[in-house]
Symmetry: C2
Subunit: 194 residues, 2 copies
């Protein structure tokens, strides 16, 4: 029963999920797999390539959850996809950073991000690549902020700052989509009225 790349990536994702990116070292990974460090480099070119694989795994299944959404407008489909990406990432520590690394390393490897761009293109946005980055900067940035707040709460539960969680994400998404598609009324309430 020899080591496979799938095992390596799965175990890496496991360490990330349980302990965060600081603990996801090649040596720790080797220990968890009961092999020597060098063995990993037969299955993976280097750590960065491994992280691209982990990012792809994190986002696996996001597309499946985003069918045609019959009857919904382009704006709704895009918002749905953005929420799907956030949901896939928010429970895994440092996942936003991992996706950012993967995105900058090979921008075409993450399928949900490509789908986001095509949706924006299909919606008539003149510069879909820029819009894709605009949306992703918000998604990843707000995930990182949420997780950072959670981390601080673990260290010092007394310092309960304003949440900066789900509501902040929805609000920002609304602002961006308003800017892209135009809006009926200025955003006053938090997220959606009664």
């Amino acid at each position: 029963m020899t080591l496979t790349r799938e095992q390596v990536e799965d175990t890496a994702l496991g360490i990330l999920t349980r302990f965060g990116l600081a603990d996801l070292s090649m040596r720790r990974l080797a220990r968890e797999l009961d092999v020597q460090v060098g063995a990993l480099y037969w299955h993976v070119k280097n750590k960065q390539e491994l992280l691209v694989g982990v990012a792809a795994r994190l986002l696996r299944g996001v597309e499946a959850d985003t069918p045609t959404l019959e009857g919904a407008g382009a704006r709704e489909v895009i918002a749905h996809l953005a929420r799907g990406i956030r949901t896939a990432l928010v429970s895994v520590p440092d996942s936003a950073e991992v996706v950012r690394v993967a995105q900058s390393l090979q921008s075409e490897a993450l399928t949900p991000l490509n789908r986001l761009r095509s949706l924006l293109e299909a919606a008539g946005i003149e510069n879909a690549a820029w819009a894709q980055h605009l949306v992703m900067n918000h998604v990843l940035g707000s995930i990182a902020a949420t997780q950072e707040a959670a981390r601080l709460a673990t260290v010092d539960p007394a310092a309960a700052t304003n949440p900066l969680g789900d509501d902040a994400f929805e609000w920002g998404l609304r602002v961006i989509l308003d800017g892209l598609f135009g809006k009926a009324a200025p955003a006053e309430g938090l997220a959606g009225g009664p």
Copy 2:
């Protein structure tokens, strides 16, 4: 002539500017200052605290460039500040990441970011803290993308992807401000008409 914290931070900023964050290690810093590594820990608690200082230095002088802007609307002043922050960072490699670390470590330490929030508040934005993050995620995200593109161009000049530089930043800023303040017409052109 003993070592000072200012010297330490200045030299750290120098290494960052010339070689990037990967080369900004405590040991490298000590070598450049002709001291032992341990000496640094007399002037600085740890590397994270040092990075907060470096981030503050990076953003020093941004406020000075943002006076009252008499006669301009709130939207213009906010856009001007966002551009000022970008200009201060875009020429220093990995500066966006350094600012992100500092921001998450002690969110009140970077004065231009506080000023951004007050401006948004004064402009009548109901949730200025969320808006501050929304704008900063765009500013820092687009800086990182610009620098990443530049880095790839250095490695492989043939792979000249679409710029993703100044124009993308201005376009995204416009979309966000449109979403926040409302807009006259949908964003069609790239950035500003004839």
